[in-house]
Symmetry: C2
Subunit: 535 residues, 2 copies
Amino acid sequence: MSSEAEAPPPEQPKVSKKAAKKEEAKLEKLRRRLEASSAVAGAAPDEEDPLAGNYGEVPLPELQSKEEVREPYTAIGALAEEMKDETVVVRGRAQTIRAVGKKMAFVVVREKGFTVQCVVTEKEGLVSRQMVKFVASLNRESIVDVHGSLTVPSSPIKGATQQVEIQVSKIYCVNKALPTLPINLEDAARSEAEIEKALQAGEQLVRVNQDTRLNFRVLDIRTPANQGIFRIQSQVGNIFRQFLLSEDFIEIHTPKLIAGSSEGGSAVFKLDYKGRPACLAQSPQLHKQMAICGDFGRVFEIGPVFRAEDSFTHRHLCEFTGLDVEMEIKKHYSEVMDIVDQLFVKMFDSLNASCKKELEAVGRQYPFEPLKYLRKTLRLTFQEGVQMLKDAGIEIDPFGDLSTEVERKLGQLVLEKYGTEFYILHRYPFAVRPFYTMPCYDDPAYSNSFDVFIRGEEIISGAQRVHVPELLTKQAEAKGIDVKTIETYIDSFRYGAPPHGGFGVGLERVVMLFCGLNNIRKTSLFPRDPLRISP
Amino acid sequence: MSSEAEAPPPEQPKVSKKAAKKEEAKLEKLRRRLEASSAVAGAAPDEEDPLAGNYGEVPLPELQSKEEVREPYTAIGALAEEMKDETVVVRGRAQTIRAVGKKMAFVVVREKGFTVQCVVTEKEGLVSRQMVKFVASLNRESIVDVHGSLTVPSSPIKGATQQVEIQVSKIYCVNKALPTLPINLEDAARSEAEIEKALQAGEQLVRVNQDTRLNFRVLDIRTPANQGIFRIQSQVGNIFRQFLLSEDFIEIHTPKLIAGSSEGGSAVFKLDYKGRPACLAQSPQLHKQMAICGDFGRVFEIGPVFRAEDSFTHRHLCEFTGLDVEMEIKKHYSEVMDIVDQLFVKMFDSLNASCKKELEAVGRQYPFEPLKYLRKTLRLTFQEGVQMLKDAGIEIDPFGDLSTEVERKLGQLVLEKYGTEFYILHRYPFAVRPFYTMPCYDDPAYSNSFDVFIRGEEIISGAQRVHVPELLTKQAEAKGIDVKTIETYIDSFRYGAPPHGGFGVGLERVVMLFCGLNNIRKTSLFPRDPLRISP
C-alpha cells in the first residue's frame, strides 16, 4: 500500500504485468541514453589519459545506490591541523574554481557553510594535465567528491574556513550545476558594509535583492548567514520544547482545518471541506484550551498558523510557525509569566552558548549587537509603561493599544532605565484584548494579559483565559461576536474547567529579533506573504 | 500592538476613552451580578454555619488572579505513604462522590489520570454537617481544591490510584460542571471485556461509541487510556526529534500553503490565496528536498499533512501529523534505512522504559501485547516478500502494490519466521512508487525505495530520490504528469544537487500500532475525516 505519510504518486493506476514490463523497457532505454550522455559528458574526459580513472563525472548508475558501502567521508567542518598528512575523502560543492596556468588549479569546496581549499597540481603518474583541465572547467556549486591528503600551509588561508589544504589525488563531479546560476553565492553572502566600502572605492558590487533571493531560495539558503539562521531556528524550537517538557508540559497537535469561517473574519483562509465551509486555524487557541479542559494540565504546540491579512510589513507573514503554550493556573496569571521568563532566559543563554558559530556567521553579513537581557525578566504594568511614555513627553490613550512606533519608543525608554531589551508588559486594557481574556479582579477596564518585547518589538502575547462559560458568553456578546458560531468552544467549559492561561510566540519573530534582522522573510525558510506563495 | 502569535480578537475597533469607560461600567455590572449569583450558589452555603469558611464555591474574583501567591499544591500523582500525617492541598476533579448518611462523604479526586480518595467526616469545631452536605451535592467533574492531612488506611484502596487518603479539613469548588454530563467518565473508561463480563452476568453496561466520544472529546480525553495515549504521542515526537538532532539533522518548517493545485490531483484541499489558486501541502516532500539542495545536509519536520481523500478506513485521516526526514546519501539508500532502524529501535526501547504507566493505562482499557522487534531491524526485499507469500500459497502481481490484506498476511509470515512485528521491505516495483523515486541501478523495474511495517500495517514510506533534473523530467512525463506544473521543483536540482533520500511517518499511526489500537481516531486529539471537522 502506498503510504499515507509520503505524498502519493500523482497517478497510481493499478498496473498489469504487461504494462509494468513495457514501463521497464522504456526506462531501460532511458537509462542507457542517460548513461551514454554522462559518459560523453566526462566520465572519461580523455581516453588517452592513463590517469583518467582519477577524475571525471560520476555516471548515473553509480549514484543509484550501486554499492552498499559506508565510505568514510570526513565532514569539511571537522578538518583540522591535527589531521596533517591524513588521507581524506570529502563531499561538497565547488564554491570557487581558479586555474593557475595549465598545471595547477584551486577549488574551494563547501559543505554546510564550512570551506576547504583543494589544490590540484600536475604530477607525473599521479595527477595529469587533463585532470587539472577537468577541475578548471567545473561549474560552480557542482557537487564533488575530493580525495587527497591534508597539508597545513605556512600562511593562513583567507578564502576558506578550515586552515588546512587538501592535496588532491582524485576528484569526481557527483552532480553538475548549470554553468550560469541565477544568483552567485558570493553576491548573496555579501554584507551591506562591503558593498558600501567598494562603492567608495569606485567599485559597483552586485547587491542581491530580497525578492531575487526568495525566487531562488535553494541557492540563497546556502550562504553562511542563512545556514546560521536556520540552524539557530532549529535550536530555538529545540530549547522551547526541552524546557517545557522538563516543566511537565506535553506536546499536542491540534487541527488546522476548522469548521465554519472561524472567529477571525476577513483574515482567515477559507476552503471547502467535503462540501462544508471550513477555514485554516489562525491559532491553536481554542483547541489548546480544550486540551486543558481535557486534563492535560500543561500543553504546548509547535505548528503552522495561517493569517490571510494584507500586511506588507517587515514582520508579518501569511503563514508562520506558532509556538503555543497553555497551562492550568493555580492562583495568578504571573505563573504563566514565570514560564515565559524562565523559558526565554534559558533560550537566550543556550543560543549564545551553543550557536556561537552560527551567530557569528549571521553577524558577518548582518551585523548586530548581542541581545541585552536580565537574569530575571523585567515586568512592567501597562499603566507603568504609559507613565514612562508620558514622562518622556509621549501622550497615548491609556485604554488603547500601543502602535508599533510607540512600542519601539517604550523599548528605548526601558533599555535606558533598566538596561534590558527583553521585558514583559502586563495588565493590558481589556478593550484591546480578545473576548476570552480574563478581566482584572480589581478593575475590569484592565485584563490579566501581557505582551513580551524584544528590541522594542512584540513577540509574545499571553493571558489568563475566561474559564467560566457564562462570563465567556457575555464577553463574546459584548465584543459583537455571534455566540452561536463559538458554541462548541464555550461548551468545553461546562464540564468543569480549571483556571488557565497561556501564550503564543512566533518562531520567525524570535529568530529575527534575537539576531537583530530587519525582515521576517529572512527567518522563514519559504516565506508566504500576500504577494508570495512560491517556491 | 495585538500579537501576530495569538488569534486576533474578532473585532478590534480602536476604542475611545469614553467607549472604554462605558465598557468598563457594563463589565462591572456583569461582574457584580456574577459575584452575586456565585454567592447564592454556594460561596456561603449556610450563613448559620460558623465553619462556613472551610467550604463552598470559590467566588469569581478569587479566580481572576486576585492574589499573586504560589500556593504549594501537591500533585495527586505524587501522594505517597511516606507522606503520612502531612497536610496537603490538591486541585483536581471530583470524579465520584458518595455520601454515607449525613455525617460522612467520600470524594475521589482526579488529576492527570491519578486519583486519591478524600474523606469528609463531621467533627465538632472542624467539619460541619453542612460541609458534608455541600460535598455530597458536588457535581461530578467539577474542579475542587482539597485541604487535609494524609492517612494510610489498613486495607488497600480499590477505587483510587494512590494508596493514601486525605482527611479533609477544607474543600472548595473552583469550577462547577453541569449536573448531567453527556458522557460519564466511568462509562468512557470501561473496557470491552468489562462490558462483556457484565453482560454474561445479566447486566447491561453503557458502551460509549466512537462518535459520541469524539463529539465530546473534552470529556473523552480525560480517561486514563486517553491520558496515556497522548502522553505516549508526545514522547514519540520527542524521541524522534532528539534522536535526529543527535545525528546532526536540523528541524525545518516548510509551508503548508502551496501555489497551484499541486501534484496530488483530487486528494488535495484547494483554496483561494489572495486571488490565486492554492492548495494545502499533502506532504513536505518538495520543500524538504529543496532544503537538502540548499545545503542543510540532513533535515526533519514535524507538521500537519493534508489529504482530501475519501478514505473511510480505520487508518486514514484528512489531517494528520507527519514526521518527515530527508538526508544526503553518500553511496546507498540503505543509509536512510539505517536511520529508520536506529531511530525506531531507540523509540520503542524508550517508550517501553519511560511510558510504563501510560502503556499500562492504555492496556487496561484496550488490551494489547507488547510489540515484538529485533535489536537490528529485519530488511527484506520486495521480491523476497513476494516469494514468502508465494510459498504460503498467495500469488500476487510481482510488479504491483500490496493490498492491506496481503500486507497483513506478510506481517504474519514474517512474525512466524523472524519473530518480529517491525520490519523493512525494500526494492519496491518502480511502477507503484512516485515519479521522483530513484530506479534501481541494475533493474529499472525496481526502485531504491522501502516501506516499513508495524504489526502488519505500513507506517513509513521512504526512498532515494532522483536528483538529476533530466531523469526527473523523464520520469514525471512517463507517469503522465504535466511537467510545467512542477518546473520550480525540477529547477531546484539544476544548481548542483547531492544524491539524497528520506522517509515519512504518520505520528498517529505509530502510536496506534505501537499500542495495538484498532482505530487511528483514538490517537488523533481532534481527528479530521471525510465526515468530521469538529470539534
